[in-house]
Every structure is written in structure tokens, then in C-alpha cells.
């Protein structure tokens, strides 16, 4: 179920909120948990059992891990341990060798989360490449049944990892109740496309949160804002992108359809190519930021404060800054759970430092999809980040703010080719069309809706370059409204909601891009 669908907007959401707010506070978490499981089961019936079982397994593994850790530290009185079904903890082996059982359990918990992620997301990719290599070497291909990707696995797997590691590191205590942990993992606003909420950020809110009426209103405004970004901007622009580059997922295409796309790309002029990739750059931002707004808004209506996921990424003056502003919760995850464990910047050699940086971006590229284009995308981002540290940042500083924003934006736009076109040969073909310099005159009248929408997208993407823009943004997003402002926002939100409904029904169903990751 996607947020921008009639089923969600007109059936699930009103019924859920009516029931949620009418039930006593004590059982609201159960209502939310039930609704979240229903939400996931609706869209991915074949994976709901897998989600539930892996969540249960992780919950008990972490509890066991903490018991082991505390016993290792000599702090736990075993008789108080609530989970007595598990076998007694053996911290000393019969041979006398002490092995850290807590570490082992921590590793097992992470292995389950990452293992499932790897199996479902990268199994096909790995086998495909393995068979190619075997073919080159003259061996017979291994048989492999293609597996489907469970929706949202990249997000809930990461949340499981944050819980395990943060608990292991002592950042927070393990959860008392399975239902609370399950709620943390499967809560529907952030279940399938984030933001990736760290356990420590939300632990208190799960048991004890306050939902003021103003929060509910702000949540609704935020939700509608996200819906507008998705339906009125991203979908409009995306339609044009799909016209040129075909559907976003090339896995489902036949070779004839791919050949058609290749022919289409080979035939486009440079003007169309630039408009297309620029359009995609805006589309992906408004699509994903729109989804995050909706998730944050839904959470806030229930009293949750999810972390922000975007901070005007296109006004960045360097690629490093861009990654601090783009998909922030993911970047925080990579920093805390990959970059730091690799040693971060506190390593012996400069080369290792740059390798760590580059490697993190390579992994983040691969996280976006199991295909070589994403590997290239991640590798390029890593190279730019390293270049930033080496010389690019200084170069940008000398250029001044506006030129460096423009320069950085151009780099982002170019790398988007590898993000959108899931075949490296086609990405390369497209880049060649960008620089073929066979420009044709631009005709605004050819598609005014697209161009006006792109202008609006550009305006809001760069709006916060000015102080006034920042002020407006702070007012809209982060400041409490007074009575009049509430009435205005209420009326505007309802009108926008109805308008989005019209757009959704007039233009068709529109799935989100980020569900694939």
C-alpha cells in the first residue's frame, strides 16, 4: 500500500485514525501495531511471516545478548532474567577458553538482519554475476530461482541493526515487551521507505508520548505537504522522465523493450537529454522528500517525532555537504554503523582514510539497488567525496557560494544518470547524448505543465539559498502556528488534499520510487 493511493488515503488512513484516537491511550500501541502489520500484509502477503519471525528472533536474541553481556560483566542476577526458556548462558567453554557470548549473539542478530537483506536483495545479482564468471571460465551455470524483493527490507533491516548495536553498545536498554519492539520495526509510517529511525531516537516515544492537538494538525499539514510534493511535482515530472527513459525498474523489461529504450535514448537530442536528467533530479528529490514528509506527518499525528530526512540538499556547496543534507537518516546510519567501525578518519594512513570514505559510499550505492549502475553511482559519489577532502572543497570555497552550488548541482545531475538508468551501457549512451551538443530550440509550449512544474521544483529546491527562504521554511516546518495561521494552514491543507485526490484519480496510480530500495 502506498501513501499516495486511494486505498490508503480514503480507507486505511481515516479508519485507522478514527479507531486510534477513539481507543484508550493504553491500547493505542496495539492498534498501531495491528494496523502496521495489516499495512505490510496488504502489500506483501508473502513476506509478512518472514518479517514477524525475523523481528521476534531479533528481539529475543538481543535480550539474550544483554543477559550474556551483563553476566560477562558480572552485573546480572540470573533469577531476575525474565526469559527463562533459553538455555543457560555459558561464558566459559569446557576447555576454559572465554568466548564473548554476547558478541556472538550480537553478531548472530546482525547476521540475521543483514543476511536476509543480502539474500533477498543481492541473491539474484550475486548469482547472475557468478554465473557470468562461471560461463567465462567454461563451467556450467548454477541453477537459481529468482527471488522477489520484500518491500521495505532495506529499511527495517537497518532499524533492526541499530537496535542490536545500540543496545550492545549500551546506548539504550533492551525493550521489555516484544510488542514494543515489533512496533518500532513495523510502524507503518516509516516501515517501507524510512526515515531510518534509530532506536535510541524513538525508544522513549514508543512507551510514553504526548500527542497534542496542535501536533495532530501539524502532522496533517506535513502529510499533505508531502502528498503535494509527490503527486503534484514528482509524478508530473516523472511521467516525462518515463517517456524518455522507460520505467524505473529495468528488471521487469524484456530484451525487446530494453532495445526500444536504447533506440529512444540514441535518438534524443541534447536538449531533451538535459531536460530529462534535470527532471529526474527534481523528481527523485520531491518523490523521496514527499514520502519522508508524509511519514513524518503521520508519525507526528500520533505523537512521534521522527528525524528529518532532507535539508535542502540541492543548495549544497560541496558533495560532502550534499550527503549531510540528502537522506540524512541513511547517512547517519552509514556513518555510525559502517564508517566508524571501519576506523573512520582515525586511521593510520591517509590512503586508508580515503578508502574508508570511498568504501562507505560504494556500499551506500549498492544499498540503493542490486545492479552495477548503483555500484558505479556509489563509487562516483565516493570519488567526489574524496576529491572534496583533497581539493574540491577548497576550490568550491574560492568560487563563492552560488557558483559552487551550481557546480555541485551539476555533478549531482550527472551522477543521476547512473542512478536512473539501470544499465551501464544505456547510462553511458545517455551521457553521450548529453554531450552530443545537438541542441534543438526549446519550446515552452510543447509541455507547459512539465516546465512550469520543473520551475516550481527548482524554485523550492533553491529557495533556501536566501535568508528569506530559510525563514519561511523554518516558519512552515518548525515553528508553532498561532490561531490564524492554523486556520489558514487547515484550509489550505484540506483544499490541497482534495486537489491531490483529483490529481491521483485523473492521472492514475503512482508508486513511489524508493520502495524498491
Amino acid at each position: 500500500m502506498v501513501f499516495s493511493s486511494n486505498v490508503f488515503l480514503l480507507y486505511f488512513m481515516p479508519i485507522f485514525f478514527a479507531v486510534y484516537f477513539l481507543t484508550p491511550r493504553k491500547i493505542r500501541n496495539y492498534v498501531l501495531l495491528f494496523a502496521s502489520l495489516l499495512f505490510y500484509a496488504y502489500g506483501a502477503p508473502e513476506f509478512i511471516i518472514h518479517l514477524i519471525l525475523s523481528t521476534i528472533a531479533n528481539f529475543y536474541l538481543v535480550r539474550w545478548m544483554m543477559k550474556a553481556k551483563e553476566k560477562e560483566n558480572g552485573k546480572l542476577r540470573t533469577e531476575n532474567f525474565p526469559f527463562s526458556v533459553l538455555p543457560p548462558i555459558r561464558s566459559v567453554s569446557p576447555s576454559g577458553f572465554r568466548f564473548p557470548l554476547s558478541k556472538l549473539l550480537c553478531g548472530l542478530s546482525i547476521a540475521i538482519s543483514i543476511g536476509l537483506l543480502f539474500y533477498f536483495k543481492y541473491g539474484n545479482f550475486t548469482m547472475q554475476n557468478l554465473n557470468t564468471i562461471l560461463g567465462w571460465a567454461g563451467f556450467k551455470s548454477l541453477s537459481w530461482t529468482k527471488i522477489l524483493l520484500p518491500i521495505g527490507i532495506s529499511f527495517f533491516s537497518f532499524q533492526s541493526v541499530t537496535y542490536t548495536l545500540d543496545t550492545y553498545r549500551g546506548v539504550n536498554k533492551p525493550m521489555e515487551r516484544l510488542s514494543d519492539y515489533m512496533l518500532y520495526i513495523v510502524m507503518f509510517p516509516q516501515l517501507i521507505a524510512g526515515p531510518i529511525v534509530r532506536y535510541c531516537d524513538i525508544a522513549d516515544q514508543i512507551r510514553n508520548r504526548e500527542s497534542l492537538y496542535t501536533d495532530r494538525l501539524h502532522g496533517f499539514y506535513r502529510f499533505v505537504l508531502g502528498l503535494c510534493k509527490k503527486v503534484l511535482i514528482a509524478d508530473v515530472i516523472g511521467f516525462q522522465v518515463d517517456q524518455v527513459l522507460g520505467p524505473s525498474n529495468y528488471d521487469v523489461l524484456t530484451s525487446a523493450q530494453l532495445a526500444d529504450i536504447a533506440n529512444k535514448i540514441a535518438a534524443i537530442d541534447s536538449t531533451t537529454a538535459w531536460i530529462t536528467i534535470l527532471a529526474f533530479t527534481f523528481q527523485i528529490y520531491f518523490d523521496f522528500a514527499g514520502y519522508s514528509d508524509m511519514a513524518i506527518g503521520l508519525g507526528r499525528m500520533m505523537g512521534f517525532r521522527f528525524p528529518e530526512n532532507f535539508d535542502n540538499p540541492y543548495v549544497s556547496t560541496t558533495i560532502s555537504e550534499f550527503w549531510r543534507r540528502w537522506h540524512q537518516t541513511f547517512c547517519v546510519f552509514i556513518t555510525n554503523y559502517l564508517y566508524f567501525p571501519l576506523g573512520g578518519s582515525r586511521v593510520k594512513t591517509e590512503a586508508r582514510k580515503y578508502f574508508n570514505l570511498w568504501f562507505c559510499f560504494l556500499v551506500s550505492g549498492l544499498w540503493h539497488g542490486a545492479a552495477w549502475n548503483f555500484v558505479v553511482y556509489g563509487a562516483l559519489q565516493g570519488i567526489f567525496i574524496c576529491a572534496d577532502k583533497l581539493f574540491l572543497k577548497k576550490f568550491n570555497e574560492r568560487m563563492g557560494r552560488i557558483p559552487s552550488v551550481f557546480f555541485t548541482f551539476c555533478l549531482i545531475v550527472l551522477t543521476r544518470c547512473f542512478f536512473r538508468i539501470e544499465r551501464i551501457d544505456l547510462s553511458w549512451l545517455f551521457i553521450k547524448r548529453l554531450f552530443a551538443f545537438d541542441f534543438v530550440p526549446f519550446h515552452f509550449g510543447e509541455n507547459p505543465h512539465l516546465y512550469v512544474t520543473m520551475l516550481i521544483a527548482a524554485f523550492f529546491s533553491f529557495f533556501t539559498l536566501s535568508k528569506f527562504g530559510l525563514k519561511v521554511q523554518d516558519k512552515v516546518y518548525f515553528t508553532e502556528y498561532n490561531k490564524r495561521q492554523h486556520i489558514l494552514a487547515f484550509v489550505v491543507s484540506l483544499c490541497a488534499f482534495v486537489f491531490c485526490l483529483g490529481a491521483l484519480n485523473a492521472t492514475g496510480f503512482s508508486p513511489f520510487i524508493y520502495f524498491r530500495f
Binding site: L9, P14, E46, L217, G445, E446, F490, L501, N505, A506
Partner: protein, 568 residues
Amino acid sequence: MKRPVRYTIQFASILVVLLAVLLQGLTHAVNTKPLAGYTDELDTVPLNFSTYYDGTFQDYLTDYAKENTGFREWAIRLYNQVSYSCFNKTHCHFITPGKDGYLFYSEAFREYYGIEPLHFYKTYDNARIWAQKNVRMMNKLRYVLKDYGVEFLCFMAPDKAEIYSEYLPYHEPPKGNVIHTAAYYDSLMTAIGFPHVEMTKWYLAMKDTASFPLFPKRDTHWRYAAVYGFDSLFSYMDSLNGFGIPDIHVNQLIALDTEYLENDEQTLNLLFPIGNDSPKYRADITIDCDEGCHKPKVLFVGDSFIWDLETYMPWKEILADVEIWFYNKAAFVGFDKERHPVTEINRLRSLLNADYVVWYSSGYQWSRASYDFVEDALIQLCVTDSLFDAQIPWVMDSLGNDSAFKAKYYAQHYCEISPDSLRQYAINLLKSNPELIPGLRGEAMPTIRNTKAIALAQQANTIANDKLWKTTLEMAASKTERSFAELLDKEAENVLFGRPLLKDEIQADTATIIQYEVEKLINLWRNDPKQTLFLERKAKDKGKDYETVMQEDARWVIQEKLINGELF
């Protein structure tokens, strides 16, 4: 917790709005003007484990929710209005908005810019090859039909996009050796002398002098101006063989003072009308049918441009009988437009029963020509079942082993399928490429005929055109619960092979036939709610029994038909 009343009310209002939309979607309690345009009817998918697990129920629910969104009509009209007013954009993908409130059919717009052939044939060269093949087969069909006294000709209806191209929106012209399909067909037909009427040029010549718009601003079809097209068509048909078709005089077009939404504008589903600058017209027509004038039987095969003939022309005054094969899919038989799938009627009979067969198409539809009509007609007329079946093995063999053959007939991806599927593919390939069959190959005119089937069809037509004979068979069919078509074929065989005739076996007298006709009419009325209501009122007014009134009225109608010679 801080709970100011106004925030409570505001939040409650949001929930109320959301729930109101939900309830409206479920109950449709508030009447809203339905949206115009066609959508596929949704097939209900029951909720069970299987439909849930494979996602078909979810897909169904998504579609259901979309179709049953509360106040959907208002929301869609609002969005469409904003899109149209601000960006001159429509959400009906068949309609492309032009300048100054003009609307164009999207295919016609693409055809004008030469994009449409690429959509169908990928390259212009393929489009040319296809058109040449079609015209060659059309000429062969004309040659064969001529043997049986049937004139086959072509009518090229005008394209609004060509006539009012100055109102088209901008589009980057495609690169390469562009062809415009209709113009290319016109040149091919002219080159070989195939009889055809090309209306676009004629309309373009008339455009600046006509006192009325040749096309409505917001309609793809030519509507009232169709009368000029059909006037030309019938004159041309008559000139081909001197049949003596009634003279059609289009005196004038009279502007009507009625406000209305044109067809394409309706499908845009806007909140407000685009404008009131495209008046509706009525055609003032007189038909002269003096001595020696004959009303022809015509079979029309083609697109929706035919319906304006029915609306604006006095159809029954010009034609003796008519059949329309709409896109060669749905057959509308007779003036009452009895509808059947084309595949379920005796196509050979229809072809041979007509005095004229008119293949007609508007310009942008030429890329689809001829919806397999010409191919099928050639096979019906020329190829016996045994000859057709004899071709299947070598076509299957070629599909399997001949790479050049495979490449030519786009069958690469069928090579590894099961033999059964390959056989079906070979059959379909033969049906769509009759020139693969010996006797129909190459440039030469067909040397083969489906003689027996043709003789049967002609005999069946003779029987069907004899009203008494036909009615007798219909009566027999209704009594024996067999189909009329079956008895007709049997009777035709009886005649051809000198067997005893059903007509003679039944020996129905006039009274029996009249009684049968009365019963048939009564059955028809019983299924017509309007007629039933009328008869109920009549019975009440006259103080008689409903059944009695119905019997009396039916008998009176049949007697009148008998007197007028309409019965037999």
C-alpha cells in the same frame, strides 16, 4: 494535555472530511454528475487466501477504490479544469488540446507530424512496405469481388488535424524520411487506379469558402459536414458502374441555437465549458429517386466516421440495406443495427450480398489498415479450407528453420515454443498474410476461388432476399429451436444439390405466417419496457385487458406490413 477547543474542532473536521469521502464512496449518497468517457468495467475479485496471496484482490481493491472514491467526479473535474486552464493539458490521453479552444484526436495529431507510422511499424520503411502490401491486396480483393458484381472501393475521410493544422499544438517534427500514412495510401491507390475518394484535399479546397466550420472545434468527427463527404461518396459510387443511386442534394447547413458540449469536450470532464463558439448544425437534404433509380445494398467497413452518416443523412431513403463492420470487429446489420461480432456472422454472404463494399477510414487510422478485413475477405473468397490447411505445415517448418522467413514475419521469439503454439502462430500468420498462399502470391491477380462456399453463400442470399421463404425458415427455426442461419445454410445446400426443400416441407400458409409474425412482434414488445408501458397505459385508457390490447396492436401492425408489401 492542552486541548483548546478550536484545535479539537479543526482536527475533528479533518477526520470528518476523510470519513465523509469514504462514506460517499461506499454509499454514493450525494448525487454527482457522472464522468464522461469509457472505462472498462471492473471484474469483481472475491477475497480469499489465493486472491489475497497473489495480490489480485489488492489490485482489485485499488481499482475499486479508484472508481468509488467519494466525490471523485468533483475532484477530477477540479484537477482537469486547472490542468486545462493553466497548461492547456488534458487527462484524456486520446485528446490533444490545440490552440484557441480546438481539440484534436491524439492519433490524428501524431499522424499530422508523421509520428503515427513509427508507433505501429517502428520505421518508415516498414510502414511503406505494409502500405504497399495492403493496397496490393485491396486491389486483388476488388478484382475478385468484381467477378461477383460487387464494387469494392475506398473512402478516405478527412482528418481534422490536416484541415485545421494551424490550431495544432507545437511538436518537434521527427527526423528522417517521414511519411504521412493517408497521403501515402492515396498515392499508391492513385498509381494503380484503385477507386477511392480522398476527402482531405477536397475539404482543404473548401475550407476558405465554406460558410460553416468543416469540423466542430471540439470534436474529432466531422459531424454535420459528413453530409458533403457522403454526397461525394455516393456520386462516385454511382459513377463506377451506373447503378442509379438516388441523387443527394445538400441544400444548406442550418446553425442551431442549442447549447451543447461537443463529444471530445465532454470526455475532458471539466468543471466549466470551454466556450460557446462552435455552433451545432442541421443538414437540409433532399433525395431524388426517379425512375431507374436503385437503392444499393452497401457494406461499410471502417472506423467511427460512419456514424455521422446515420445521424445526418436520411439513411433509408438512399440505401436498400446496410451493414457496418465497425473496425471489422462488431457487425451492425440492417437499419436496426442488430449487433453481432463480425466473426460470428457469415462474412462471405455479407460480402456477396452487397452491391458495394466500402472500406473507409479517417486519415490517422490508416496505420491500422485494414483491421484484417482485406486479408480475411480474400481468404473467404479465394481459399478453400483444404488449401488453407495444406499451407500450415510448411509455414510451421519455415518458422522453425528458415531464419529469413522468421525475420520477415517477426517470429523469432516463437521458435522455441510448443508445437501446438507454433501451429496456432502459423495459422494466424497465414490469416494475416494471405499472400503466402499459392494463387494469391505476388503482383498477379488471384487465380483461385472458394467456389463451393461462394455458391452456397449466393444461394443463401437468394433465399434470404425472398421474404416469404425467409419468414418460413425463421418460423421453422423458432419451432425447432434451431438457428435461422443453420436452416438457411441447409436450405441453400438443398437447392444446390437438388434435395427436397424445407420450404416445401413446411408449406406454411399466409395465416400461419401472419400468426408467427404477430407472436414475434409480441415477444419483441415484451422485452421493450417503453412499449410495455405504452401498452399498459393504452389498456387502462380503453378499459381493456393488457394482453388483448397487445394482441390487437400486434395484429394491426402485421396487417399493415402485409398491405404495404413489407412482409413478403
